[in-house]
């Protein structure tokens, strides 16, 4: 009753609008993400209070070493991926040359490497038994394979190859959205190319880099296959696995919880770092997207470097192809296989339900991606644009499912949805089709959220104001203007979510049903019986599929294909 005297007109920017928008988002997050994940923390203290934590931090050796190793690997991964990703973005977005668009579509394929077979391909390339070290051994006639990656170095190689797209995509979206006149101003003040990058471009890319760093850091922290394959067992994820095998579930949960807490701490630090400055161009009007570079780098170095980088980055894919086309047993100590065959493809394609896993994965991944886009974009908007209490919590809420290992997420989801509850509309979700898309949604929401948030940091809020001023309601202005301008970032996020959805294995294997066999499980079944050839053939199908998606989304993103190349061209001609 007391509220009736308040002004009746409360639009999209009244004081409680943020809460109105945020409430359903919080509900979704709570129901589908946070509350299920809390199970891990609950379990870690359920038996004996904080004893597990005490044990974790006081016990000699393993726990602490694992934590340190994991942190070291994560930090190094962030650095390496950052360097590779930003460099690739620089080469491909700042210069134009023949075949650039093709390379752009190729360059994301490593992100789409099927798990298991993908990891194996790295071994076949760079480890002791790999093509490269063996070839070098042959070349130099040495006793042992040369330059073989092993242990942490091997893990870092895999991480760099598979995660640099986070940086590449974020940086290229940000580079495209940046006000070019700011860079010109720096040149005009006498700064050379390197200094401009150091003092203007990179700092202006901060939102994108922060977003990518978060993703890479957390992915590395929760990465399992790479440490496994390269035998680094003193990592958090390996310890979680070992503890689960030992049957010590609370301790496993303690490890998982510490993993989550470390990630959250990193998230908070990054948020603080990013929040110190503004990255929004204050320029009047819209500056011309044109800057002309007469530098030889543009003409020769860029294409050459890009092609080289692409070859290196695509090598794992080529390896998979090699495996897919090699006859069983024809490749043991040889550097490359000695006999080739179509057999593997014939085998999988003649199987009655050969395409089912592919279609399943596509469908579920698309569904999840759609959900991620809707929820992720809204949360990004809320966290970046609206002022309300608890913004950091919202941010943490989204990221928490990314900070935990996939297995843990899946187990939490099973526990939460094995019986009906309000969020599942009273239905038990496990054993149904919906649990997998839900898992993908929960797990890959952070990708869309981060990418959208980074691109939003570069969009002038006064554009939305202008639209509102012209009479557009908030949803309309939001969709027409803000989302439209965020689109490059949103597409990046959606692509990542989709690609990861198609490749997801660790969670899928715990919740799939016979009618929703995802492609990763199909590949795993082949790997399990060591039919590497057919597994690789499946993997190739997946790679091709992802490539096609990338190619078309690249066209979509650049508005019919020409705008992007036009943009790069304007930087060179």
């Amino acid at each position: 009753m007391g509220a009736t005297h308040r002004a009746p007109h409360r639009g999209a920017n009244s004081a409680w609008f943020p809460y109105l928008l945020v409430a359903p988002l919080v509900l979704i997050l709570w129901g589908y993400v946070v509350q299920p994940m809390l199970a891990t923390f609950v379990e870690s203290v359920s038996d004996d209070g904080t004893a597990n934590y005490t044990r974790f931090f006081t016990s000699s050796g393993v726990a602490r070493t694992s934590l340190l190793t994991s942190l070291l690997i994560s930090a190094a991964s962030v650095l390496l991926c950052g360097v590779v990703g930003v460099a690739m973005a620089f080469l491909l977005k700042r210069f134009s040359f023949r075949g650039r668009r093709l390379i752009e579509a190729f360059i994301l394929v490593p992100a789409a490497l099927p798990p298991l077979i993908g990891a194996v391909s790295f071994q076949m390339l760079y480890s002791e038994i790999g093509i490269l070290p063996r070839a070098l051994q042959d070349l130099f006639g040495t006793e042992r394979p040369v330059l073989a990656f092993d242990g942490i170095a091997g893990v870092l190689v895999v991480h760099t190859f598979t995660m640099y797209p986070f940086f590449y995509l974020a940086a290229s979206a940000a580079l495209a959205g940046m006000d070019p006149s700011v860079e010109e101003a720096a040149y005009n003040l006498g700064a050379g190319r390197v200094r401009v990058w150091r003092t203007v471009l990179l700092p202006m890319l901060t939102p994108a880099l922060v977003s990518a760093s978060l993703l890479v850091f957390m992915t590395s922290l929760a990465s399992y296959t790479a440490p496994l394959l390269f035998g680094v067992d003193q990592t958090m994820t390996m310890q979680i696995y070992i503890n689960r095998t030992n049957g010590d579930l609370p301790m496993a949960s303690t490890y998982a919880a510490v993993l989550g807490l470390v990630s959250i701490a990193f998230l908070l630090v990054m948020r603080w770092y990013e929040g110190r400055r503004s990255y929004l161009s204050q320029s009047k009007g819209i500056s011309a997207r044109r800057r002309e570079i007469a530098n030889p780098i543009g003409r020769w170095l860029a294409p050459v470097a890009s092609v080289l980088a692409t070859i290196v980055l695509l090598a794992p894919v080529a390896t998979i192809a090699l495996v897919a086309f090699s006859a069983d047993g024809s490749w043991t100590t040889e550097i490359i296989p000695s006999a080739y065959t179509w057999e593997n493809f014939v085998t999988i394609l003649t199987e009655p339900r050969a395409f089912e896993p592919i279609l399943n994965s596509l469908q579920m991944s698309l569904l999840a991606t759609a959900g991620c886009v809707v929820v992720g974009v809204l949360i990004a908007y809320a966290v970046r644009r609206l002022r309300f209490i608890g913004r950091s919590l919202l941010d943490i809420g989204v990221m928490i499912a990314w900070a935990l290992p996939g297995t843990v997420v899946a187990i939490n989801l099973i526990s939460a949805f094995s019986t009906g509850n309000g969020f599942s509309f009273g239905q038990a979700l496990i054993g149904t089709f919906w649990i997998l898309p839900l898992a993908y949604f929960v797990r890959f929401l952070p990708l869309v959220f981060r990418a959208s948030s980074a691109s939003l940091a570069l969009i002038d809020p006064s554009l939305e104001e202008a639209a509102r001023n012209l009479g557009a309601s908030w949803p309309r202005a939001f969709l027409n203007i803000t989302v439209r301008l965020m689109l490059p970032g949103v597409i990046v996020g959606a692509l990542l979510a989709f690609v990861h959805g198609v490749g997801e294995f660790v969670a899928s294997v715990l919740i799939y049903t016979s009618s929703t066999v995802p492609i990763s499980v199909a590949i795993n079944n082949r790997m399990y019986s060591f039919e590497v050839g057919t597994a690789a053939a499946y993997g190739m199908l997946q790679v091709v599929l992802i490539f096609v998606v990338m190619w078309f989304s690249g066209r979509l993103e650049s508005g019919g294909g020409r705008a992007a190349s036009r943009q790069a061209e304007q930087w060179t001609n």
């Binding site: 002791e128 067992d233 094995s418 294997v509 715990l510 919740i511 499980v521 790997m527 060591f530 590497v532």
Partner: protein, 330 residues
């Protein structure tokens, strides 16, 4: 238009419920068995769903679904895995017909799980790199310094099989498990010879075939499958002092379609089926079969005398110790 199909299930029986099988077996095996099963029980046509995954994942999944079990059959799992499933009250106790003929060592006393096949753990070697006559003949030869950097081991803590082998190696030198030290020392020497720990079976095969290492300890069935079916250069030696024999078993999951599950499991122990599996997939049934295939007859399986109770008590400690103190330190 075959009218038969529309009339199944015949004979007025209640319509068959779906059987969901969580299997850690090879997909080829499960496909074959399900085909045979449906042929015999047509009412289950399209009603048997097999979800293939790792043994550890079967446990995780069953455990997580405890509140509302989705699976009916647990098919394939180590003794340890099945035991913890039983202890966590995930499995249903019953008395199948085949249990009577089964050695008590191979089944749960309360009937919650039953061994299906026996997995002797033997010495594996790359027969392209090592002539058969030069391969080690017994476990102790593996720690001979001449094999330095020739051994590849599937990483231990995360593998049920490897844990059992390593625990057996310790228990072999300390029957009551009270003094694991000699075992540790032995394993340390093995570690010194180990060039690399492989992440999973596929990784192991890969590294063995590509001669990063040429010796390993592995289960017989997989060695035979790889060399016969995938053309891999693997041979095996039955160790002179005996091979630890692991039991790989099956169980009915509590709360699932237990009628269907029982039918299915009874079928798995069908004599001809087991004979066929033994012939084509190199399985050693836990319940002896009448007509042994040639390879099995010639095998000369010599089980090592392993006390699984001692191992069950100590395994976690021993493996943790190995992981923390021995691995990569020899």
């Amino acid at each position: 238009g075959d009218s038969d199909e529309t009339e199944t299930p015949a004979g007025g029986a209640a319509p068959a419920e779906k059987i969901v099988v969580y299997s850690a077996r090879d997909k080829k095996v499960t496909d074959y068995v399900v085909e045979q099963f449906v042929a015999k029980h047509p009412e289950y046509k399209d009603k048997v769903e097999v979800l293939n995954m790792g043994a550890q994942e079967v446990l995780e999944r069953t455990r997580a679904e405890k509140a509302n079990p989705q699976g009916s059959v647990w098919w394939g799992g180590t003794q340890q895995g099945l035991s913890s499933g039983a202890d966590e009250d995930l499995l249903e106790a019953w008395q199948p017909t085949f249990a009577a003929q089964m050695d008590a060592r191979y089944k749960d006393a309360q009937g919650r799980w039953f061994g299906e096949i026996l997995l002797p753990e033997v010495i594996m070697y790359n027969n392209k790199a090592i002539p058969a006559d030069q391969a080690p003949k017994d476990w102790d030869e593996l720690i001979d310094p001449k094999w330095k950097d020739k051994v590849i081991i599937r990483d231990v803590p995360a593998s049920g099989t490897m844990r059992s082998i390593y625990a057996s190696m310790i228990q072999r030198l300390s029957p009551d498990g009270s003094n694991p030290q000699p075992g540790y020392d032995w394993l340390k020497k093995l570690d010194a010879n180990t060039v690399e720990y492989a992440a999973n079976p596929a990784d192991l095969y890969l590294k063995m075939s590509r001669e990063q290492g040429v010796l390993s300890a592995w289960n017989l069935q997989d060695i035979l499958l790889q060399s016969e079916q995938s053309n891999m250069p693997f041979g095996f030696v039955m160790p002179a002092s005996g091979a630890p024999v692991l039991v790989d078993g099956v169980a009915v999951i509590k709360g699932g379609n237990s009628a269907g599950a029982r039918t299915f499991l009874e079928f798995i122990f069908d004599g001809t089926l087991r004979a066929n599996l033994a012939k084509d997939y190199f399985q050693i049934p836990a319940v002896a079969i009448s007509e042994q295939p040639e390879w099995l007859a010639n095998l000369n399986l010599k089980p090592m005398d392993v006390d699984w109770d001692v191992i069950a008590k100590n395994e976690t400690d021993w493996i943790n110790h190995w992981n923390a103190e021995i691995k990569n330190k020899g």
